[in-house]
Symmetry: C2
Subunit: 244 residues, 2 copies
DNA sequence: TCAAAAGTGTTGCCCGTACACCCATGT
DNA sequence: ACATGGGTGTACGGGCAACACTTTTGA
């Protein structure tokens, strides 16, 4: 952050507005209809229905204008806490969006944050405008679904502002980091079976693994607790993320 | 970029200032003292000596306040063109820095851009305050050197603002992307030998390769021209980056 | 002839993949 | 008994690292 010699009165010029937008992802469990089969997991994202201009009645990412005395992370947690009480969130800066016309009113620059929670900790929100959308990732497209069967295809910009683009970039980041970091554990509960972890990988990467190979791939990142998940057939060992 | 319902007059609140800072990297050639040896390459970064407050007389990254009618990229190219005429620059957004106290005067948020050039295209600058510093990357630290033997250790913050941190992050990004993208060609001339490319990899990653293995590693990213570099001993095939 | 670099071939190891097989459970 | 998932072993192949060797040049 340097400046030209001429810029001495730095508060004395017109500034863009600055907002923070949140991509909050979580995993939902969907019990199986067949008692002999595992339940399905879904990747979800939190959206808010805008009942104000601009983009009134569109779905968009929950965000807020940044205040002078708070950092991005503080803005971000403030928003999420106003909407629903949350804790233990994994946060990571995604990208800063600056298209000049991205907001029809005036120049607004937005810093997007990627946030992950394990959904067990979600206190129900009293904001009727909030909704968890299922994120269906495939090679060709990303489609969001709400619980009433409404579909939003991210290739057609049906969301507010450039939020479709932001979500696509967020999914891409998630896909990349799942492969080489521990980011996936931000979506898991403290204890989980290998099959559950595998399902989450498969959801995010739109790709199937085999049990044996998946176990070897993750072996050095997890360690067994000595407890079992019995809600199924043969009890499955519960694992947790390896310390250090 | 959403907001609370209450925020209707969006220009009617105090906003942080917004700047763009540039990490401009290039490769310098240093001819060998021994005629029987190859010359050395160095990674360099462009810094500017601040002759104004704050951090007067400190070195810092060249940057500027963003104007209402320009995007980050436009701010970035404006700065670099004001300082020295450049073209064909590779640009990539690095990160957005928002520590509340990073600027002692007031709240300033800075978007950092990573930029790469091949130095052949550098028109000499008439700004005496600009200087190319050599970047020495090792496992423990990053040290900057100017041509007069002055050293700046990035572990001690001797640069303006949080620019040490920004440079460390930029080097890290460069190291990561060199391994899995074509970013390195932004630093190379149009035609280059494999040995030159190998030297640049070794500089950035602080790691040695063997010829045979390095050739195999890069084989699918480059293609031979049918020209040779004769300035050495046995002439070396010149390569260029593979199209498609 | 010799030092340095250009260029190529061989080998072994590690890791990801495919696939096969047995174990444990409750209906 | 059987379907389903849990869990483990084996075998193949590609890619990377180590290393050895030949070729080419100018002094």
């Amino acid at each position: 952050m340097s400046e030209n010699q001429q810029d001495n009165k730095i508060d004395d010029y017109q500034k863009p507005s600055l907002t923070v937008d949140n991509l909050l992802f979580a995993i939902a469990d969907e019990p199986s209809d067949n008692i002999r089969k595992l339940g399905n997991k879904k990747l979800q994202i939190l959206l808010i229905k805008r009942n104000y201009e601009p983009f009134e009645n569109c779905w968009g990412l929950p965000g807020a204008f940044m205040q002078m005395e708070e950092s991005f992370l503080e803005t971000s947690t403030r928003v999420l806490n106003e909407k629903m009480k949350l804790s233990n969130i994994y946060f990571e800066q995604l990208y800063t969006f600056d298209d000049i016309k991205r907001d029809p009113r005036t120049r607004v620059v937005s810093v997007a944050y990627l946030a992950l929670i394990n959904k067990v900790n979600v206190a129900r929100s009293d904001d009727a405008n909030l909704c968890w959308f299922t994120v269906e990732i495939s090679k060709k497209q990303i489609v969001l679904n709400d619980e009433h069967g409404n579909k939003i295809d991210l290739n057609n910009a049906q969301l507010a502002f450039d939020h479709s683009k932001i979500i696509r970039m967020g999914v891409e980041r998630l896909q990349n980091k799942v492969e080489y970091s521990n980011i996936v554990f931000g979506l898991m509960q403290k204890e989980f079976t290998i099959a559950e972890l595998q399902q989450v990988f498969e959801l995010i990467l739109d790709k199937k693994f085999t049990k044996a190979n998946f176990e070897r791939k993750l072996r050095d990142k997890i360690e067994p607790t000595n407890q079992y998940r019995t809600s199924g057939f043969r009890p499955a060992m519960l694992y947790k993320t390896k310390e250090n």
